[in-house]
């Protein structure tokens, strides 16, 4: 009985890492399509979203099956509930990288108003956050998860900087406005992806320690 349960838990673990790999590839493709102005890559990134959605459903049903059939307790229960929460955030990351790609397809028709500088930095920071949050889950690495939570400040600062840069661009030439707004949207999506990566990291912390940040500080999680 326990052996079968362990095998199922292992399968759940693997499935979640697979989903993590999917969103990593999705967001990576989005970033590359943005930097290279490559509509083809952007379409590929959008295609990932469907896979991510399917994976979320699979993992969700596996979690529910485990909860109903095995009635797990303690650490196992913590893991399963953390996974249930994590896949929601992962699915949102998939959605947002698809959203970025859609904007990229639109942007790929005309040259950029200014060479991208801060945006790739921001993309790199977010991709690294997502990768680290999944790594933290794979290795059950508490310190890595904490570093993801802290890295969010960097992304937030970058967002402010990007925003300021875009404001300046519009001020220089109001014709820049349309593209600048698109870039702002992309930056916002990256900022949101960073938030989701933080959420994932927090659930990883919960799966390891049994304490979630929202309980610890007595406030609702953003």
């Amino acid at each position: 009985m326990r052996k079968g349960f362990d095998a199922q838990l292992q399968a759940l673990n693997t499935e979640l890492i697979e989903m993590g790999a999917l969103i990593e590839h999705a967001i990576q493709s989005s970033v590359e399509s943005l930097i290279e102005q490559d509509a083809k890559k952007a379409r590929r990134a959008i295609a990932f979203d469907r896979e991510v959605d399917q994976k979320e459903k699979d993992i969700e049903s596996l979690c529910l099956k485990l909860l109903l059939q095995q009635q797990p307790v303690a650490r196992d229960l913590r893991l399963i509930s953390a996974v249930l929460k994590m896949i929601t955030d992962m699915e949102r990351i998939g959605d947002q990288s698809a959203d970025i790609s859609e904007i990229v397809i639109f942007l790929s028709e005309s040259p950029y108003i200014a060479p991208l500088d801060l945006l790739p930095k921001m993309a790199e920071a977010t991709v690294s956050m997502v990768t680290k949050s999944i790594d933290a889950f794979v290795k059950r690495d508490l310190a890595l998860a904490q570093s993801v939570i802290q890295a969010d400040d960097v992304v937030d600062q970058l967002f402010s900087a990007v925003r300021q840069e875009l404001i300046d661009l519009i001020r220089q030439d109001p014709a820049n406005g349309s593209q600048a707004l698109d870039f702002l949207m992309i930056a916002k999506y990256f900022e949101r992806i960073g938030d989701h990566a933080v959420n994932i990291a927090e659930w990883v912390v919960y799966a390891i320690t049994g304490v979630h940040k929202s309980n610890e500080e007595g406030r609702a999680d953003t």
Partner: protein, 549 residues
Amino acid sequence: MTSRIFRTILSVVLLVLVLCMGLTTWILYTSFEDNLVTELKSELAYISQGILLGGTDYLSALPASSSRITWVAADGTVLFDSQADASLLENHSGREEIAEALSGYEGESYRYSETLSEKTIYYAKRLSDGTVLRVSGTQASVLSLLWQLLQPLLIVALGAALLSGVLASKLSRRIVAPINNLDLEHPEACESYDELAPLFHKLQHQQKEIQDRITALRHSQNELSAITENMNEGLILLGSDETVISLNASAARVFLADQDKIRGQNLIALNRSEQLSLVAEQALAGKPASSILNMRGRSYALYASPVPEQRAAVLLVLDVTEKQQAEELRREFSANVSHELKTPLTSISGYAEIIRDGLVDPADVPEFAGRIYAEANRLLALIRDIIRLSSLDEGAIGNQKEPVDLLSLCAGVCSRMQETAEKANVTLRVEGSTANLFGVRAILDEMVFNLCDNAIKYNKPGGSVTVSVRPLEDAVLLRVVDTGIGIPPELREKVFERFYRVDKSHSKQTGGTGLGLSIVKHGAAYHKASITVTDGPEGGTCIEIRFPK
């Protein structure tokens, strides 16, 4: 074994018990009978005396006893019976014992009662007057005797059975105890039954054999793990469903994984890249696959081969960063070479075409020919440099190493270049002291030449170039200092690359090949010398080469 011994002992004891009881009963029975007969005989003897004296009155006066007394007349008529009315009894002459007594002297017979539970013994004797006296006694039969004894016998049997049961169990346990206490790990140290000695011997032999085999296995396993753990290539063994069965230390290092934690987990827990899962998938499907994985700025080649019988795969991970970089360099080099070769050739072919078509004033032909000559020279220089460089690259230089005086070598080079220097309005000087080093003269010559050539080419009019040679304790220092245009600090690494020029627009005028410093770098590497580039006087450059002794 204990229970079997117990059962055997118990059954033997019980069998003996039953046999003993049966025999005892039989012996008792026969001795009872003998006693009865003797009793009857003696009774008959003294009663017969009494009858001769007192007749019927004596018999009547006899006290009642257990035996029955019958007096029979010679014709068989019963005269007296101690237990019945004589007149009612029929004639007894037909009774076996009486008939015997009548015909002889004594007679006897046995008769069983109807139920067989009693046996009556009759004993008759003819008296002197012709009458017969008969005495009879009853005795219980064997069966009834047994029946009567049944209860005590059962009690005894039960007691004996219980006792023998307890004893048998103790005994059997004691017999088995030494066998139970055997130390099978060390059969030679066992003290037990002699009968088991051959078994122990065999056991000991087998144990040694097993031990030897385990040692051999462990040896080969250690050997294998020593190989896999110490090899530079990463090795991963995959089971079906992409489970990591084992991975060596190198693979763990490449993927930043914990060797023990990752075992039994899915490959995706090791690395989530598409390339890795793709080659693993193909290999598990039975097809060898390979791919390149870029990770943290390094390139890794992945080779996956299937293990057909077991639905497993072996994954080899090789660091090919340097190899890829070298390949990249080679690609760049050949592209550059073709470009550099094409430029002078285009000029040559252009000028030649104009002359052939008669479009040039004959007076101008020498000038055009001069240009063709200059371009051809440039081409020759380039090809000569490329040949030098590739021979240096291969490290297979025919020239033997010999002791070379660097100072006189530098003086020789500078005297050859004096003319070029004067044309460029640059002063060329050699200073320092004699310093011997062990090297290839041709290469050293080439190095000094290229350094001076560069120093003159990239100089300002009226500038100077100083070549100095200084022997140190463990090295020979060659320094070429110019007052030229200088090299910006961030480009000081790059100038040694093939075809790299700081100022690309300037190259045509100076007529260099772009390979000079590259030849210097390779020559230095050949001599295991180190190169440092620092600022020279007046914004110039100072290149220092340190040849170890």
